[in-house]
Every structure is written in C-alpha cells, then in structure tokens.
C-alpha cells in the first residue's frame, strides 16, 4: 500500500506545482453555477413556490455545487490510458513493480484531490454569495465518503473506456457518450427529482445516479436512509464494474503486442 500512497502523494505535489492551470479550471465552476442560478431562480419565480419536489432554491444550487465539483474534479483518465495503449508506452508501466490499475487509480486520486478541492472551494464561495449558507455540517463527512465512492465508480468506467484502445482505434467518442449519459442520467444539470417518474426508475437501475445524484442529494438533505441507499448502490456497482475492469485488463494485456523498445 505504501507505494500507492507515494504515487498519490507525488501526483498531489505535481498538481500543486501548476496552481494557475488548476485555478483556471476551477474558476469555470463559478460561471456554470451563475448560469444555473439565473435559470433556476427564474424557474422558482415562474412556479411561485418556495419548494419544488422538496428542494428550495438554495438546496438546488448547493446540489449543483457538489455535482459540478465532482464532475469537474475528475481527471480524464480514459484519454491517458488509451494514449499509453496506442503509443505502446504502457510497456514502461507494465514492467514496474506495481499493479497498472492501482497505479492509475492512485495517480488519478492525487490529481482529483487538488482539482475537486479547489473547485468546491470556488463553487462554495459563489453559491454562498448567491443563496446563503451551505447545508448542515453533520452531513459533510458522510458526503465525502459518498464522493469517494462516486469517484471509484467513475474510475472503473473511465479505465474500461481507456482499455477499449486494445480493440478499437478511437476511444474519444465513447468518453463523450459516457460523459453525456452521466450528465443526463446522473442528474448533473437537473436533479433527478424533476424527471418524469419512469425516467427516474430507469436511471436508478443504472450506476449513473450513484456517481452524481446520490452524493449531491444527500449533501443538501443528509438523512441516514439516503446515505445507506447510495452507499449500497455504489458498493454493488463497484463490485460489478470492478470485476469487469480486472477481466478486461487481463484480456487486453494478453492481446498486447509491442514492437521494438
């Protein structure tokens, strides 16, 4: 475990070495949240109600703050894994004394910790300014655990997309489609509570709500039942997707042909 902790630490320090680059990306959340504020303020005003589907305007904006921080804080691992497979540079990682997937996970976590932290910081500042203080601090620590679970799920899917490079020339479109499915079925731009009932049911049968909606919804209304429901979903999907990832990786490495060095 110590070597993976060291990889995490190195990536963390590496990320901190380029603060302006990260700052630029984190500021993007301010723009998105400001647009959401304009849109949802109008929605609440037009409907003439302080609460819609059990959420106040403040709840909705804090929901978006966390969902956007999770989304913007994720590293684009699929791209770097696919690049390593296509260029053959994966060979340099395969002969090192660590597991390739755990290496990618530790490095990705190191990058995300800085990026997600900064995004949440800027996002919280602007959300507080627009709609008032954040939800109860009692839910912050369990939220962090759910965010970690969401990150692991995202890692599994992203790594699977990256490994597709073993069988297909171009993996970027798969990444776009996965990202947009997360936007829609994960509830990034509209909380699932506002969806038609049939679509809510369909979405909940998939892993996407556990990646964004679950942690964000729990954050604004921290209830034990919501926590255990999301944590349970995350665990079940982690087992399923994690197993597929390990099998795909083993199969991919068997197919790998590297010429020269």
């Amino acid at each position: 475990m110590r070597k993976y902790a060291a990889i995490f630490r190195i990536q963390l320090l590496n990320s901190l070495a380029y603060p302006l680059e990260f700052l630029g990306r984190s500021v993007m959340v301010v723009m998105f949240l400001w647009i959401f504020f304009q849109l949802w303020r109008t929605v609440y005003a037009v409907n003439g109600s302080a609460r819609l589907e059990g959420l106040s305007l403040g709840d909705t904006l804090w929901y978006f703050m966390l969902a956007e921080s999770i989304e913007l804080g994720r590293p684009r691992l699929a791209q770097s894994i696919a690049q390593a497979v296509k260029e053959g540079s994966i060979a340099y990682l395969l002969n090192k004394p660590f597991d390739f997937l755990l290496y990618q996970m530790s490095a990705g976590l190191g990058e995300s910790a800085v990026r997600m932290g900064l995004t949440a910081l800027f996002g919280s500042a602007v959300t507080w300014w627009m709609v008032g203080p954040p939800p109860s601090p009692l839910g912050w620590l369990p939220t962090l655990l759910l965010v970690l679970g969401a990150w692991m799920l995202h890692f599994c899917v992203n790594a699977l997309i990256g490994l597709l490079a073993f069988v297909t020339e171009e993996t970027t479109p798969f990444e776009w489609i996965y990202q947009k499915l997360t936007f829609v079925l994960g509830g990034l731009l509209i909380p699932l509570d506002f969806y038609p009932r049939w679509l809510q049911t369909a979405a909940r049968a998939l892993p996407f709500p556990a990646m964004l909606y679950g942690p964000s919804r729990y954050f604004v209304q921290p209830e034990a039942e919501a926590f255990w429901r999301t944590a349970g979903m995350q665990l079940a999907w982690l087992l399923a997707l994690g197993s597929i990832l390990v099998l795909a990786y083993r199969g991919g490495v068997r197919r790998l042909v590297i010429n020269g060095g």
Binding site: L23, G24, V27, I35, L39, T42, T168, E170, P196
Partner: protein, 260 residues
C-alpha cells in the same frame, strides 16, 4: 483568389487525411451526433417539466442548439487550429507558418480539421429540422446564420488565443473563454438581463453565436441580419488586427520542426 484556392487545397488535404482512418472518421462523426443528442435530452426533460421559461420553449432550444452546434462544427472543421492557437504561440510553433509565403493566421488555423465537427454540423441541421420551423427559405437563413455565427466563433477563438502573445501559456484561461462562449450560446438569452446581457453581446459574444442567428432563422428580419453581419465583421477585423499586433512580439526558440 490565390488564397481561396490555397484554402480549398488545405481543406481537401485535411479531409483526405482524416478519411485515411475510415473507422475512426465515422466513429467520430456518429459519436458526436449521439453525444449531442444525449446532451439535448436535458432540455427535453426540462421543458417537459416546466413548459416555458420567459417565452422560450423546446422549439426555441432545438433551434438555438442547432445553430450553435452547426456553427461550432463548421468553425472547428475548417479552422481546427483556432482551438490550439495559444499552444502554437506559446510553444514557438508558428515558425513553420512564418517561413512560408502564405497568410500566417489563415494558414495556421486552417492546417487542422477537427473531424467530429462534421458530426456537429449534421446534428445542427437535424436539430433545426426537429424544431418544427423547417422551410426552404428557412433553410437558406439557417445556412447564412450558421456561416455568420461560425465567423463570430472563429474570430473570438483567434482573439482569445492571441492573448498568448502577451501572457505566454494562457491555455487554462483561453479554455475558460471557449467554454464560456459555448455554454452561454446554448442557454435561453432571456434568462440574462442588464450587465450580463451586455457581456453576451460584447466581451463574450455568445448571443451572436446562438440567440441572434436563431432569431434570424426563425423569421427574416433585416435589423437582426445587420446586427449579426456587423458583429461578425467587427470581430473578424479586430481578431486579425490583434493577432498581427501580437505577432510582432512573437519569439521562438528556433526549434527544428517538421510538418507531416
């Protein structure tokens, strides 16, 4: 005339080069159409629940999304390097274009085509057809609107990316501006008032890429067309002037580069 034929040759070469990898070419186009379709579902769900926001309904969103997607696609397919210009400047990669007897800016930005842009263009057209506002004269207005909106988008890209002449590595800032432009272009303009609206017509001219051309496509209006044409022309002239002004400050490490 000579420049136009040079551009046509460049675009032809870019297209042939992209089609060399046929499977990747088709995957990128179809992937982008699917990507945009899934993304647009958000607005279908939104308007299913809330019906109308300050006079904007689903039909308006189909139209504005279609115009913005087609304009973006046209821009990045014909002038793909407009998205990478700040990197070319910061890394001293303009040397190659400076050493050839062709307009530097035009040559640099047209040297790369983003294949998925074709998918955006096709999606834009489909979205316009789905808006329920299709008509033969409307299609002509759509094509003209998209052309002018693409000119606005590419000019804004050149302007934003040229900041690299003054600030060096500005990729984080320029990507923020690019994202702002695209994001604001596909939101109902009626949501924004006062200062915010002023920004969307000037500093980040997203309204000229989405709402204004969409309004022109909906119904012919000389005033809207004049506003769009004027905005596109001013931005174009301004971006070219800023690029060449910045080019005087350009420094390179005389790195040996080859262009394949």
């Amino acid at each position: 005339m000579k420049t136009l034929s040079f551009l046509l040759q460049l675009w032809k070469t870019n297209l042939l080069s992209a089609m060399e990898y046929r499977a990747a070419f088709i995957t990128q186009i179809l992937g982008m159409i699917l990507n945009n379709t899934i993304y647009f579902l958000i607005w279908v769900i939104f308007f299913e629940r809330f019906k109308e926001i300050r006079g904007w309904g689903l039909s308006d969103m189909f139209l504005v999304f279609g115009v913005a997607a087609a304009a973006f696609g046209l821009g990045v397919f014909l002038f793909g390097n407009a998205l990478m210009l700040s990197d070319l400047i910061a890394q001293g990669k303009l040397d190659y274009y400076l050493s050839l007897p062709r307009p530097v800016l035009l040559h640099a930005i047209a040297s790369r085509s983003v294949t998925s842009g074709l998918g955006d263009m096709l999606y834009g057209l489909l979205s316009y057809c789905a808006s329920g506002l299709f008509s033969p004269s409307g299609l002509l207005r759509f094509l003209l609107g998209v052309l002018l909106a693409a000119a606005v988008f590419v000019s804004f890209m050149v302007l934003a990316q040229s900041l690299a002449f003054w600030f060096g590595n500005a990729s984080a800032f320029t990507s923020l501006l690019v994202n702002a432009m695209i994001t604001f272009a596909i939101y109902p303009v009626t949501l924004f008032e006062g200062g915010a609206k002023f920004i969307l017509f000037t500093i980040i001219p997203a309204a000229l890429m989405g709402a204004v051309p969409a309004s022109f496509v909906r119904a012919f209006d000389g005033h809207t067309l004049a506003l769009l044409a004027l905005g596109a022309s001013v931005l174009l002239v301004f971006s070219v002037a800023v690029f060449y002004r910045g080019l005087r400050r350009y420094e390179s490490g005389s790195a040996i580069q080859s262009q394949v």
